[in-house]
Amino acid sequence: MNLLTSLKHCGMLFAILVVASSAIYADDAPVALRIQPGTIEVAPNRYPSRFIVSALYADGSIADVTDTAEFKVLNTELGEVDSSHRFIGRRAGATQLVATLGDLSTYVDVQIGDDKPWDPDFGTSVVASLTRAGCSQGACHGSPKGKNGFRLSLRGFDARLDYSTLVQEEYGRRLNRVAPENSLILEKASAKIAHQGGKRLSENDYAYQLLKQWVTMGHKDSDSIRTVVDYEIYPNGGRLHKSSPTHRMVVFARFNDGTVQDVTDLCVFATGDNAPADVSKDGTVQFHNTAESPVLIHYKDQVTSVRFTYIDRDDEFKYEAPNARNFVDEQVFAKQAELQLKPGQIADDSVFLRRVYLDLTGGIPDFETAKAFVESDDPMKREKLIDSLLESTEYASFWALKWADIMRANRETVSTRGVHNFHRYLIRIFDEDRAFVKVAQEIVTSKGNTINYPEANFFRIARNPTDAAEAFSQLFLGVRIQCAKCHNHPYEAITQKDYYALSANFSRMGIKGTRFGIDDEIVLVNDSGDVKMPGNDEPLDPMAFGVVTSTHDAVSDHRAGLAEWIADPENKYFARSTVNRIWFHLMGQGIVEPVDDFRDSNPPSNAGLLDALANEFIESGYRFKPVIRAIANSSSYQLRGDKELRQSTAAAEPARYFVAPVIRLLSAEQIIDSISIATDIPEVFEGYPEGTRAIELAEGDVPHQFLKAFTRPIRDVACDCARDTEPTLNQVLHLVNNPDILDKIESEESRLGRWITAELDDTVIVENLYLGTLSRKPTSSELGVAQAYIEKAGNRVEALQDLQHALLNSNEFLLRH
């Protein structure tokens, strides 16, 4: 066995070790070395080629040792490693590069090609270099009007425009072939002459060299459109070893002409807003503490991402958690343990009771229910309660409300009749726990008169192919594609083609208008209709994020293909985005947050959990109740808000990892309904039957001051963000002074009024008030304070009403905790 063969065997051994030891923290000593890419390809006397050397550890983590490894080129006549640890080819041929770190070694093949003149491709190199330099960003020359008469396409999405601008516009004065370094584009970019955007390039920069070489070679346009088919990113994410919170990356692009090019120096790297890690211009990611972070790699107008994790290992950390009751806990606790986070303890019965009532039915339990539950010693009472609440009519109304909020059905879009019709349709979905994939398919392929087919109201709201695509994507896939209408998404891997190809699924959808001369409309499918990209006359085949769902010349309704794709097991969007919404509504925070903003730069906080929930959703027939049941029965859901919970200094920031319940203000409907339940006096909503709860209102824009004050949405946006969660003075004033609420408290018909009439003892009434309002009995201290207040007050009835009012204004009542 020669040296190289033994090194390769080492690599295999490493793989075995990783598998065998994935559960143990075997640290300190790396078990193997790795050079990436697997083969270095370079041309003689060109810009050097990058590579990465990583030390591999038994726990699967990696460390960047490129700077500390020693290198040996077996045939030094062919090339060498420079001081920046890049390979420079000198002469055509093949050799190997060997890296050594302590006792570990590895190697890669190196291919040095023929010495040909460097002739950069315009579309994939020159444009990319301008993007890298920031010239084509939206704030500079990439703005719709450009800057100072020089306009580039945003992040280089239109190479044709850019070529024309650079070469033909202004009589070609931007380029100087005789003296390329005197080209205006280079003099401006290097700030040799005044440039409002400052110095963007240095002469040593790869981008500068590339631009200069392109001018030198005759500033040719690309012979054909060269597109990226794949990226090779090294390392392709991973967990960084404790010793190495920093790791550099190299990026290779594989093009449709079969070539592979090191584009690291043509990329822009970013980690997103508020990310726990930084990334340098040359692609070196750096963590500051235990965290997970995506790294976005922009090449031209395209975006891809990798994800790194860094664990600042705390040897003292010992993970402790309540019993894992199901797969939800397994995933949640595993992530917490990995990030050295500790969850809280299980909440008591009262907290659980109130929480699960509010989350599943939108209101608090009434006095009798609270008393019975708190006093019950049935060990299965939580499971039984969850099951019973899922079968309640309030559950269907409350969860229909969540979807009604974002479906944008309002009087203006679908008429009053349509709003009610559509609302009843949504309630039936949740009451029957219909397979949500069938519901989505039904809505997406809906047609007919909206009077008879309420699901078709979707298309009265999203009335053209692009609107329908945007709404469909946001509601059912959790992806906001609006940006890509005008250009490739500037920050995400969503292209303009994605946008219009998704729209093409709806290209034949039509709206015929009223058939009864009233507020009905007919949604139908036309025989023809295509969607084209702006500036392109070729009809697009309908697609869903790269998956062809139909062909533009197919006779059938294109939407049918999209409907099939929704249920495709390979579809990673639908189930994940749906369970993410469910999780959000129960846990107060999405695994992806915001819930309708799935994107590379906004990855899930717990991808394993998201996948597990999605699998459960799919396996249970895309039904909500099994997923809700699993979450609500998990210890993760039933945690208490523990003020004393302390995390390790080496722990990740806990906010996104569900170590404690998210405490949040109840929604407008939850508050007003809970007040009605606590007092047992129903609220009156104009235009609705007596006894209607706020969660049952079909319309968003209901004339009700309290609901308006607490920002009940009027349903004109497809986003859960329409509810303002920040408290306002107006809300406080309503809670304190709203005459309707005061009337409820003071009514002789109220629960309190009836207790007073029944001449119950003060202690009993106080205890009952606590149970009926906060779902718990008062502490002895609270009981004492209340009794003292009643005794001190001149009017017993008013004192008890004051107590009720105070409880209704307490944080404990107003917050979901």
Partner: protein, 795 residues
């Protein structure tokens, strides 16, 4: 089984005097309770509304031997109680009812005839004692029965029933079809209040519903009924039918021939057939068919069209042109779209130049299908494609350009399908046709005078005069002229009631015919669109202070093809308008003359009100033409009414009704006459009527006219438009009081010969408003006489 509608029978009653305070407003029925009556029995119904204080009789759209009142009481509070006797053989369905009062006829209100027992919603009958607004307070119902109730705002009505295991019940709400905006939803809940099933909006029933449900378990169930939007009114009545009856909504075939017996199938009801035979002289376009199976508690009524075409049922497969079903002219083709991809093809052989009328019916036969009709020629070229026409299905005609086979492809545009997605394709050869409509559905005429009877005519391939006949009324009903001249599309006849005619209510058919050589070539019964309900929004389409209900275009046929006439006792005054056509200049005033004749000794004043067009309030705007008409207390001729045009008056022509009103005791008498009002700009600039010849290279004085309408006399400023080779003064003033001025025209040497219309852009201040009106100066540029001619001329 359908009974033929016989001609109406006269009801003679004396006026019932009342001492209550009177207003000019006419009687208006808001509500009939119950809105359903059972056939074969007498039912006491209550009419609720306004101005119902002097009831005389009722009028229904059924013959009086089928439905008539046998007792009538007024409680002095505006409520009328009527004992309505419905014959045993009365046809089920929806019909109209009006109340005749001493002042005239009320609006029409709809009611249904049913074969189920009627029970009342207790909450409606005694709201203080009963409330069925909650599940716990549900009113028990012993079915089969029809529950007569009402839906108030935010109202929810709960009923409870006891069923046996596996029992199938049919449920139907007749609510929206009673002419109100009610959109009922019915939900069945189990004993624990859990949802079982819900129903809303069944095609063919407007917003009403009809369905059946099989109960899996025996026991108590709740029926919840509410408006889909929780809106309502104390006047929104409903009939909630509960029992076992067919849930059919569409019949195939959907048309029958008079004098023939036709077997009908019902896609919504498996294995069911029925037979319908109409008398040969049935003259209705649509009838209700009572459908009841053996063992049913009650019937269901379905609309069936009546025409003389032969029926042909679709035969599958006919999904392709090659498999098209061959049809002939004068045929009703009855088919359905079996599934979403079903296309139906038909082939028709035609000689060159044959015009074919095609009509597809779906919604009027209770079908949900929405049909697009495409006509292809024998080479596959599209001749025509037609979808909805107004609120109707596909209606079109085409003329075959050459001999050959023509194909009709019917497609369900939404691509839905099923046995119930039925259609009827009527294929007819070119026919002359008349469509007569009347803007009135009721009219009160005092004996020995007349009231205007407006008829609008839409002719299709009909030229020449038309004759008008009044049918179903006794002698003494006559039109002063029964000829509608060839050029007239909006005709106003004079309906005279001669002495000897008894006072009372009558149902009158107005028949319009084209008779050539003694043969009727085309005829039509005047159709009306009577007002059932009103919504007081002030945004009526023609400025009315109310809007018509949204679905009033779907009134029962029996109601639309007859006009209710109330013959009242003679009145002590009459009047005639002496100015049949009035020209009113915008921002000016115009006068019309009329004579009023009083009986000796009659001292009451007559007041006049003019209505129509610009005299009406329009979408909350005040009327733009105001009428001042003197009150009259004695016979006088050459009375003058004045019309004044205000700001924003539109330039148009329309009919004005002038109603004279007086009282005799408590009786309010209205008598109406009409005249045509044309509103135009106060001036209309022009040149000479005929083009003036002007010669190339010459100068000439041309006269331009202001063409003012009285009483406008003001200055008119003109700006001349561009002329080709003619120089004219740009600005011209026609001074106040001067009808015309002359202007110099200089014709260039190179001016082209030929006619030119030179624009005259006119402006003037009319009253205090700026008015614009344009016209033309018509000239013809002519070559100068030839040299030789000139020379000859010298000689």
């Amino acid at each position: 089984m359908l009974r033929r509608m016989t001609k109406c029978t006269v009801v003679i009653l004396c006026l019932i005097a009342s001492t209550a305070e009177r207003t000019e407003a006419q009687a208006f029925i808001e509500h009939i309770h119950p809105g359903v009556v059972k056939r074969g029995v007498t039912t006491r119904i209550q009419l609720v509304g306004s101005e119902l204080l002097t009831p005389v009789d009722i009028w229904t759209s059924l013959p009086t031997d089928v439905v008539h009142q046998v007792g009538m009481e007024a409680d002095g509070q505006g409520n009328i109680f009527i004992d309505l006797e419905v014959s045993e053989n009365a046809p089920l369905g929806l019909y109209g009812m009006r109340l005749a009062t001493g002042d005239g006829l009320s609006n029409v209100h709809l009611f249904s005839i049913d074969d189920l027992e009627t029970v009342f919603e207790e909450e409606y009958a005694s709201p203080k004692e009963h409330n069925n607004g909650k599940l716990q307070l549900a009113q028990p119902i012993a079915y089969p029965a029809t529950v007569a109730g009402a839906i108030k705002p935010t109202d929810v009505d709960y009923y409870s029933i006891e069923v046996t295991k596996g029992e199938t019940l049919s449920l139907e709400v007749v609510g929206n079809r009673l002419g109100k905006a009610l959109d009922p939803v019915v939900t069945i809940l189990d004993e624990q209040g859990k949802f079982v099933v819900s129903r809303d909006n069944d095609v063919g029933l407007l917003f009403d519903l009809r369905f059946e449900h099989t109960f899996e378990k025996a026991g108590k169930y709740f029926l919840r009924l509410h408006d889909s939007r929780y809106v309502g009114s104390q006047y929104w009545g409903y009939s909630f039918r509960i029992g076992k009856f067919p849930i059919a909504r569409v019949a195939i075939p959907s048309a029958v021939q008079p004098g023939a017996s036709t077997k009908l199938g019902f896609p919504q009801v498996a294995n069911s057939q029925a037979e319908l035979a109409l008398p040969a002289d049935c003259d209705r376009n649509t009838v209700f068919f009572d459908f009841k199976r053996e063992g049913d508690d009650a019937s269901t009524w379905l609309p069936i069209s009546v025409n003389h075409n032969k029926n042909q049922l679709e035969t599958e497969p006919n999904d392709k042109q090659e498999s098209a079903v061959v049809v002939t002219l004068e045929t009703n083709v009855h088919g359905s779209f079996k599934d979403e991809q079903d296309w139906d093809w038909y082939a028709l052989e035609l000689q060159k130049g044959i015009t074919v009328d095609l009509k597809v019916e779906t919604r009027n036969i209770g079908s949900p299908a929405d049909v697009e009709l495409t006509i292809y020629d024998s080479k596959g070229g599209v001749v025509k494609r037609v979808d909805d026409v107004g609120f109707e299905d596909a209606i079109t005609s085409f003329t075959s350009p050459e001999e050959g086979t023509y194909y009709f492809k019917l497609r369900e545009v939404v691509q839905h399908g099923g046995e119930a997605f039925a259609y009827r394709l009527e294929i007819n050869a070119l026919k002359t046709a008349i469509k007569a409509t009347s803007g009135i559905g009721r009219i009160a005429v005092p004996i020995d005078t007349w009231q205007p009877l407006p008829i609008d005519i839409d002719r299709s391939r009909v030229a020449g005069d038309l004759t008008v006949q009044l049918l179903g009324v006794p002698e003494g009903f006559r039109l002063e002229s029964n000829v509608i001249p060839a050029a007239v599309t909006k005709w106003v006849g004079r309906l005279y009631i001669d002495e000897g005619v008894n006072t009372g209510v009558y149902a009158m058919h107005v028949n319009v015919q084209q008779v050539v050589d003694g043969e009727v070539k085309a005829e039509s019964y005047a159709q009306t669109q009577p007002l059932v309900d009103r919504i007081p929004t002030g945004r009526g389409p023609h400025g009315e202070p109310f809007e018509l209900r949204e679905d009033q275009r779907r009134l029962p046929a029996s109601l639309k093809d007859q006009i209710a006439v109330l013959v009242t006792p003679p009145i002590p005054f009459d009047f005639e308008i002496n100015t049949p056509d009035v020209l009113l200049a915008r921002y000016q005033h115009a006068q019309f003359k009329f004579d009023v004749m009083f009986d000796d000794g009659f001292q009451q004043p007559v007041t006049f009100k003019a209505r129509g067009g610009e005299l009406e309030q329009d979408r909350l705007r005040a009327p733009r033409v105001l009428a001042e008409i003197p009150e009259v207390t004695q016979s006088v001729t050459d009375l003058v009414g004045t019309l004044t045009s205000g700001v924003g008056t539109n330039l148009l022509s329309h009919r004005v009704t002038l109603t004279g009103t007086t009282t005799i005791g408590d009786r309010v008498i209205n008598l109406t006459r009409t005249f045509e009002l044309k509103i135009d700009a106060a001036f209309k600039p022009s040149g000479m009527q005929d083009p003036v010849d002007i010669t190339i290279g010459k100068e000439m004085m041309l006269e331009v006219f202001a063409n003012r309408i009285d009483p406008f006399i003001g200055e008119v400023k003109l700006t001349t438009g561009d002329a080709n080779g003619i120089t004219l003064p740009k600005d011209v003033v026609i001074p106040e009081g001067i009808p015309s001025v002359k202007i110099k025209a200089i014709v260039a040497e190179d001016a082209p010969a030929g006619a030119q219309n030179i624009a005259l852009i006119g402006n003037a201040t009319v009253d205090k408003y700026s008015e614009a009106s344009n016209g033309y100066l018509k000239v013809t540029v002519v070559e100068p006489p030839a040299e030789d001619d000139a020379e000859e001329g010298k000689e």
